[in-house]
Symmetry: C2
Subunit: 242 residues, 2 copies
Amino acid sequence: MTNPTAAMLVIGDEILSGRTRDSNMHHLAKELTSHGIALAEARVVPDDRGVIITALRALATAHAHVFTSGGIGPTHDDITAEAVAAAFDTPISVRDDARAILQAHYDRSGQNLNDARLRMARIPDGATLIENPISAAPGFTLRNVHVMAGVPAIFEAMVASVLPTLTGGAPLLSQTLCVTRGEGDIAAPLGEIADRFPDLSFGSYPFFRDGVQGTNIVVRGSDGAQVDAAMTDLSKLVSDTA
Amino acid sequence: MTNPTAAMLVIGDEILSGRTRDSNMHHLAKELTSHGIALAEARVVPDDRGVIITALRALATAHAHVFTSGGIGPTHDDITAEAVAAAFDTPISVRDDARAILQAHYDRSGQNLNDARLRMARIPDGATLIENPISAAPGFTLRNVHVMAGVPAIFEAMVASVLPTLTGGAPLLSQTLCVTRGEGDIAAPLGEIADRFPDLSFGSYPFFRDGVQGTNIVVRGSDGAQVDAAMTDLSKLVSDTA
């Protein structure tokens, strides 16, 4: 696969404790896939500076892009911006452009831009701001790391503004064949077809629904003609073994 | 925190492509928390033998327990059992006890225990089987790694049978205070209270609901008296700043 790869780093004790169910990973996975970038790995880590730094360095080295979610608010447990700066030995301080965005937002809502809120204007040197159309506090891109909010509506808005700036490959296409046969019945011939199309990936996902056993066979790849050819072979397989 | 830690490894291309939304991580997080085991890290990796092995070794070394989900079915992309065996240099083959479980299951349903299905009886030497009350094919525990199915109903049943066998710490307690104030308004005093209770963790989670801005403050710890004391201080903080 020649498409660029990406990783996601979900940051937050609340995910690991089970208090909050993460939904950002699933959203990002779908958006990246349609943009032709392969999400190759995702990690969830706690609000722990050392752990975040270690994970960031590993992921930023291994992949073309890293997307983080969570930990960019005004409270003591919001340490993502500091950790990203530290991971790349980059100075971080309150930046005028980010401060102006927050000042305008809080002026409009009649709230006070206090020291806690001003923490959200701390941006690493050289980073590009990512717009937050909902609560103003910006995300940022430093090198190949895109730092975004954990609140799903804000995360999704930030993904929408970052993705068009990234070069993707051919969109990853997928087709699904649903057969009412057990995985074990089709495993051998499915494996043979998969061997014949080394550039495609084949997944099989069993289900039990209303007492019926079945399997969804998913074929993925960036060459539409190959995906079509594989689907033709699969359809034949199903009629042969039915 | 003296509670043992755990990690989760979610295995499957279908999660990273966005086709399937993982729900096992959230379930495991809640169950571990109530059992007094802290989920310290989670990773999602593709159906790639080398990537799975590298992640397994790192997580099994760093944590008391590792839980995997996915990749133990009968098809060519189900490589988890082989990868776990390889990660610990342990031989793997069809084991009589696992084969007997599958044979009985397929005899009952009038299906054929063919070569593909027999793959699900491949169990590393020395591993303990984990019962699958839904579709028979067992999971297993090898050293500190618990290998479970990806289908949520089966995953959850396997967690229910494994957890009672593990020694947990004191259950992690949590209390939540919901205040109708922005995070930025309470960040400074919240930070001071957090400093006074170093054994507890404090999280703050903003929300916007029906036009009202608010924050959920979550206090977590295993000492109930300390959690109560922190909640008392927090309530006072809220009435002071209101």
